[in-house]
């Protein structure tokens, strides 16, 4: 197995991380098991549900479809980092106020995906919000409250 063990160095939530990982280990398993960043969740393990959504080099990715070794030298941001920096504080507050989460398992991924949309700086239509979060599965809410919350933050950020 030793040829399948690889040293990687990356920045996770602003911290330098050097770890030795199996080549087959997914990014989300690495984050959860090795770094104990359990805010990123594992729902389907094949890129469908979006519970593992994180940011790599600023791009939103599926943590289960990317290998940890692919992140050597990369900058990775998880919900823990986005929370501590305050970057999504308004989105989080809107989700809480609007009850846009029930069990909360999809929420970290949903927030990361919503933030990607809102960072474009334009106020999206409700259809655009729905389209953008369509890769993030929520079994509890029926999505309506999530769209409400994202829309309200988009408007607030635009000063509307």
């Amino acid at each position: 197995m030793s040829e399948h063990i690889i040293d990687i160095a990356l920045i996770v939530n602003g911290e330098q991380v050097s770890e030795r990982v199996e080549a087959r280990k997914t990014l989300v398993d690495f984050l959860r098991d090795d770094l104990v960043l359990t805010g990123s969740h594992v729902g389907c393990e094949h890129g469908v549900c979006g519970a593992c959504t994180v940011r790599v080099n600023g791009e939103v990715v599926r943590g289960c479809l990317m290998l940890a070794v692919q992140c050597d030298g990369a900058t990775v941001e998880t919900i823990e980092g986005m929370s501590d920096s305050g970057e999504v504080a308004d989105l989080q507050a809107a989700f809480e106020q609007r009850n846009a989460l029930q069990c909360g398992f999809c929420t970290p991924g949903m927030l990361a995906t919503a933030q990607e949309l809102l960072k474009r700086g334009v106020v999206p239509s409700r259809d655009e919000i729905r389209e953008h979060i369509s890769g993030n599965y929520c079994r509890c809410t029926g999505y309506h409250a999530i769209v409400d919350a994202v829309e309200s933050v988009a408007k607030a950020r635009a000063g509307q």
Partner: protein, 706 residues
Amino acid sequence: MKITADSPPVLSALDRPNSYIGRSVPRPNLARLTQGRGQYVSDIALPRMAHVAFVRSPHAHARIAGIATEAAKKAPGVIAVVTGAELAKVMTPWVGVLTHLKGLKSAPQSPIAVERACWQGEAVCAVVARTRAQAEDACELVEVSYEELPAVTDPETALDAATPVIHASLGDNLCFERKLDAGDVDKAFAESDAVVEAIFRTGRHTGVTNEPRSIVADWNAGEQRLTVYEGTQAPHMMQDLFAKHLGLAAHQVRVMTKDVGGSFGVKVHTYADEMATAALSKLLKRPVKFVADRLESFVTDIHARDHRVKAKIGVKQDGTITAFEIDDLTGIGPYSVYPRTSGIEANQVMNLVGSPYTCPNYRAQTHVVFQNKNVMCQYRGVGHPIAVAVTEGLVELAAAKIGMDPLELRRRNLMADDSYPTQSASGLKLEKLSHHEALAHLDSMMSYAGLRAEQASLRKQGIYRGIGFASFIEVTNPSAAFYGVGGARISSQDGATVKLDAEGMISIHSGVTEQGQGTEAVLAQCVASSFGVPLDRVRVVIGDTDNTPYGGGTWASRAAGIGGEAAWQAGKALRQNVLAVAASILQAKPEDLDINIGVVVDKASGNERLPLDELARIAYFRPDTLPPGFQAELMATRHYVPRGWPFAFTNGIQASYLEVDVNTGFVKLLKHWCVEDCGTIINPQLVNEQIRGGVVQGIGAALYEE
């Protein structure tokens, strides 16, 4: 019934100045979830924790001729490879029956299959390793020799003489049957102007919780105690079952449940692989973790709703429904699920068909048959979708047959709003329902007449739109009549313990649980209101059998109705205790005092007399200053169980407006309306979002899932 907006209502006479009943306050547990700082069972890691993966049967029915485990045992990281026969030495099998479902039978089920696998996906061997990946690697090295057996896969022929019997000891493939005959059905059909028959089929589907089933079991041989972290809706039920089948006393088992990533009824049952994980922990004397992956979830999470219902309705030309008749057939798995059984869903279908209507003539039968498929059991809205689809499908057909508007036909048959208490033809006791008020509200909300006109005009242009309705009643807040009387140790009562701490803050410990419904918010609202403190002074503790009153957990809408009532009563009891302390400090009479927004006040004037933190300081640190013989009791416990009614039925009506592409058959849902009378609303936003989420899950079931 009131339709409530998401804003605080005008205070009623029932409300105290700090009432939170009827207010949309945010849930106290949300920030940790939005920040990714929750603790789901899949997040838990313990010292020395091992991971289990299961080798599962690729066959629907097969004899296990042999299991070669040597290669797997030598694989990297492997701690143990355990077969069903080996695990049977640690854990006893179970049988999923309830005595009040007369005649219901099932066969003993083991945590891991012994000798025979009875569905594709049943675990036949466990591999425990240092990591889940190593366990999965080693699973591939386990060689199981199967001798395939004939599989029973068609409910229609399950009882035929030519069909093999899955469990020889049972004699046949019949799990449960029930017949019901109310009124005079034959006479009613004979006197009908029209009789319509149809066959309704509902396919298997399941809850698909975003977080799969997860468990960490930790047997501490030094303490002789098993601590189980499990994503379950019913911790005390599971405590009882782990103890029973591991030969332990219940007090040797602690079940803890913090955040649960969705449940929908899926996580209220006993799963063989979760029981096996607990047994493996006992066997190996270390924590063992099992998290189902998505594919094994599909073949092991309970399935539901596989029914074929032959149904018949009689109607007179004036719209009077004369009779309902159904013949239900449902194919469950090879075992009735423990301990709630796989007979409840069919029983509910029997009970609920025709239940919104006055029609007294009703004949029904159901056959629940074993199949070599994954197990079936209760999933959100148990039996209701089938009963409602059948009933309302028949009502629509009857309306079309006699040329009457379908909403008008319902109006002529729904139980009158002033007819309660009453009972349905199937014998359900009903109280305070509001079918007509709900229907009238729906009619105006959807602008029904205008919608019909639009439908007719679009039809001329070749656009096919449909309008459908569903009136329903819903089983909620069960008493002991649901499970307890049938011998299942599932508590119908629930308790709440409320405590004033040394800084004047309140904690409530409750036996009900949270899977996202907002249980924590509702409990806090009840206690804050009945005791008299601001909401942010209340801390909720749930999901721990060591630290909460005994209770049934959260299912069948019981968290608010039963857990909330216990919390309300406990808050009131603590208030009395606190006022007794205040009276002794202030040399006043308790009945002249009140607690208002966290301060003891004069009841008459509202003048502040004593802050709660000062009262607590005296009671805890200077009790010597209280009168001799006076003992402050700053903790109170109350329990609640519904006794007057077996169930608290609620009612409602929904409507869909959709378009069908007649060339492709594609259905597009355009609009959907729901009116639900759920009684006193504690938190309007939570009610709205629960209903909205439920409606969307139902739309998924109707249009997309099978």
